[in-house]
């Protein structure tokens, strides 16, 4: 890779980290706080439903974050640098 490509790659990576970090922070503050009480209730009262819901949530978040990160990687030309 040329020096310019490496510079572009590092710059885009830092931009992505900042954008993504902000999104993650907002997500933690809003969504996770909102989910905390209902999930604790479920954990204490029905572990089986809690188990299925846990897997569902992590898979759903995996799918959503995959789209978000892929969008960010495409937006910043990190993928095209080789």
């Amino acid at each position: 890779m040329k020096n310019k490509d490496v510079r572009d790659l590092v710059r885009n990576f830092v931009i992505e980290l900042v954008v993504y970090g902000t999104l993650v922070l907002a997500y933690s503050m809003i969504v996770l706080r909102w989910l905390a009480d209902p999930l604790r209730e479920l954990f204490n009262n029905n572990l089986l439903v809690y188990a299925v819901l846990s897997l569902g949530l992590i898979v759903a978040q995996g799918a959503v974050l995959d789209v978000v990160t892929a969008f960010l990687l495409n937006l910043l030309p990190m993928e095209r640098l080789e």
């Binding site: 890779m1 990576f13 992505e16 980290l17 993504y20 993650v24 922070l25 997500y27 933690s28 996770l32 706080r33 989910l35 905390a36 009480d37 999930l39 604790r40 954990f43 572990l47 089986l48 809690y50 188990a51 299925v52 819901l53 846990s54 897997l55 949530l57 992590i58 898979v59 978040q61 995996g62 799918a63 974050l65 995959d66 978000v68 990160t69 892929a70 990687l73 990190m78 993928e79 080789e82």
Partner: protein
């Protein structure tokens, strides 16, 4: 932030940071990263029973991202992954029963801890030795990086097995191989995963490359695909036993999702032997963490 299920207060950025670190390792090397994430979570103050289950849960989400990424790059052999999963599930069950037997004999920490360190050191030394040889072969014989493997003895023997049914793995460029050879890799790595309490990627990737002859990039991608299934199953069983704090897993996964994308993309900038050479350092870190735990808990005295 307070995590009411595990009953601990932690900075979510710390959890996301741990996730980011193991996400990069997972995306790049095709490992779940449990042998690094587990000790880090424990040292952050997460109770031990929540460490294993929560780590598995975040691993499921992270591996989905990385496996999809590798699939888009053509690095996942679904057929290979499905055959291995069958062996892995049986192996995990066998490993869990071995743990029970060792536990009732009161030797579980010593036997598992010492075996863990020995296996990790063997993998590390062997992978480093082989990848350095492969890099030399690439330089001196001008062999393509895809074909450069410094050790082909095991692969020749495995491919020489003619026990039916024979299967083909076109996604990995293998015309014919015994079903039992692939199933066996799943069984052995599943057993190690079941006894050592880890995903087993750091054993499975070298075995796929050296024993089955899978190209390194495909071994990494397919291992992640296998982790999605086995860690998903583990998440369900652990959560049903009350060992998963899904809020922590979701927080860790936010960091891991980005790390996994970056790690998977980075594999394109490195040749197979170079990835394997970098990989050889990982088991050393795992061995060091286990040794610290063994000495710290007084299981081994100097």
């Amino acid at each position: 932030m307070h995590f009411p299920i595990a009953g601990v207060t932690l900075n979510p950025l710390l959890l996301a940071g741990i996730g980011f670190l193991v996400g990069i390792l997972g995306g790049f090397f095709g490992v779940g990263g449990g042998f690094i994430a587990g000790p880090l979570m424990f040292w952050s103050g997460v109770p031990m029973n929540f460490v294993v289950g929560t780590d598995l849960a975040h691993m499921t989400g992270k591996s989905i991202v990385a496996a999809r990424r590798h699939r888009a790059l053509g690095h996942v052999d679904i057929k290979l992954g499905l055959v291995m999963v069958a062996g892995t599930i049986l192996g995990v069950e066998g490993g869990a029963r071995t743990i029970e037997a060792l536990e009732s004999a009161g030797m579980v920490d010593l036997v598992i801890g010492v075996s863990y360190v020995l296996i990790l050191l063997t993998i590390s030394v062997f992978t480093a030795w082989e990848s350095i040889r492969a890099l030399r072969i690439m330089r001196t014989d001008r062999v393509d990086a895809r074909d450069a493997v410094g050790f082909k003895g095991i692969r020749k023997r495995v491919h020489g097995l003619r026990i039916s049914p024979m299967i083909s793995l076109p996604g990995s460029g293998i015309a014919s191989i015994s079903f039992w050879a692939v199933f066996g890799v799943g069984l052995i790595t599943g057993f190690l995963a079941g006894t050592l309490g880890v995903g087993g990627g750091f054993v499975r990737v070298p075995m796929l490359v050296y024993a089955i002859g899978i190209p390194t990039h495909v071994a990494v991608g397919t291992d992640l695909f296998e982790i999605v299934i086995s860690a998903g199953f583990g998440t369900l069983t652990h959560a049903a036993k009350g060992n998963v704090d899904v809020l922590m897993a979701l927080t860790m996964h936010t960091g891991a999702a980005l790390g996994a994308q970056i790690g998977a993309t980075a594999t394109r900038f490195f040749t197979g032997p170079r990835i394997r050479l970098l990989f050889s350092g990982l088991p050393l870190v795992g061995a060091l963490l286990v040794l610290i735990r063994l000495f710290g808990s007084g299981t081994i005295h100097l």
